[in-house]
Amino acid sequence: MSMTLKTEGEHHIVVTRRFAASPEMVWRAHMEPELIRRWLLGPEGWTMPVCINEAKPHGKVRYEWAHENRPGFYITGEFLEVEPFHRIVHVERMHLPDPTPDNHIVTEFVPDGEGTLMTMRMTLPDAETRKQMLSSGMEKGMEASYVRLDGLVAAGEIAAVRA
């Protein structure tokens, strides 16, 4: 279930990942707030107290993250295309608290054997935005969470065995 992450030209990043579940289930986990807030959390220690996802064209997205020891941040976005259970196109920006330039994201789910292959193509943020994101403290959270990675790997293996 390894993930690939590649830059495409100067302006895009393409991520692929396999999941041991049908496209419909992977889609739902990306679109239903009660499922989204269980996994879309980044480094350990963050929670998502606000999760709004209006899964339809022109629908709005608002995810807010909170951490015990760090200032929170949030993203807002809008859906451009919503094609169940196959393709999502949306834009989002991070508020740090000033909004970053829009990240245009195309997410596709295709059946792959018993599972699903997800491909996500996103905008590579410009240098200034990357600098802001690095200095927002998210990276510090990352370093701490690498140390606790073993526990998470165990959880990932359980899912893989059930595949």
């Binding site: 992450l5 289930m25 994101m133």
Partner: protein, 113 residues
């Protein structure tokens, strides 16, 4: 930091990555860099220009030569951001694996109201 916009495309080329790998061992001239490649010196020079514009290498003047070396700050700044993204996504998807495994029993056919 202002070089970062061009860093990722500079790193996308295999010859340029090989040049960076060579420079990781120390400073080298264009002539030395051209040797292991079946490429002309002007072709290598063009790659070096891209790497220099991306802030990945630095060049100094020594008589008629312009030896190159890695500009570590440039390489690290680009890697750090991608590493952060990769780390965050890997953790997200590991959690998502667990969420999907729990969804499995019988819930797949469930209609959302």
């Amino acid at each position: 930091m202002e070089y970062l916009d061009t860093t990722f495309s500079a790193l996308a080329d295999p010859t340029r990555r090989a040049i960076l790998a060579r420079l990781a061992h120390g400073e080298a001239t264009v002539l030395e860099l051209a040797k292991p490649f079946t490429m002309s010196q002007p072709a290598i020079s063009r790659h070096l220009k891209v790497l220099e514009a991306a802030g990945l290498i630095e060049r100094r003047i020594e008589g008629t030569k312009r030896p190159c070396r890695l500009a570590k700050a440039g390489v690290q700044a680009a890697d750090r951001w991608v590493d952060m993204l990769r780390g965050a996504l890997e953790q997200n998807y590991r959690r998502l694996d667990a969420v999907l495994a729990e969804m499995k029993p019988g819930k797949e056919q469930e209609e959302k109201p």
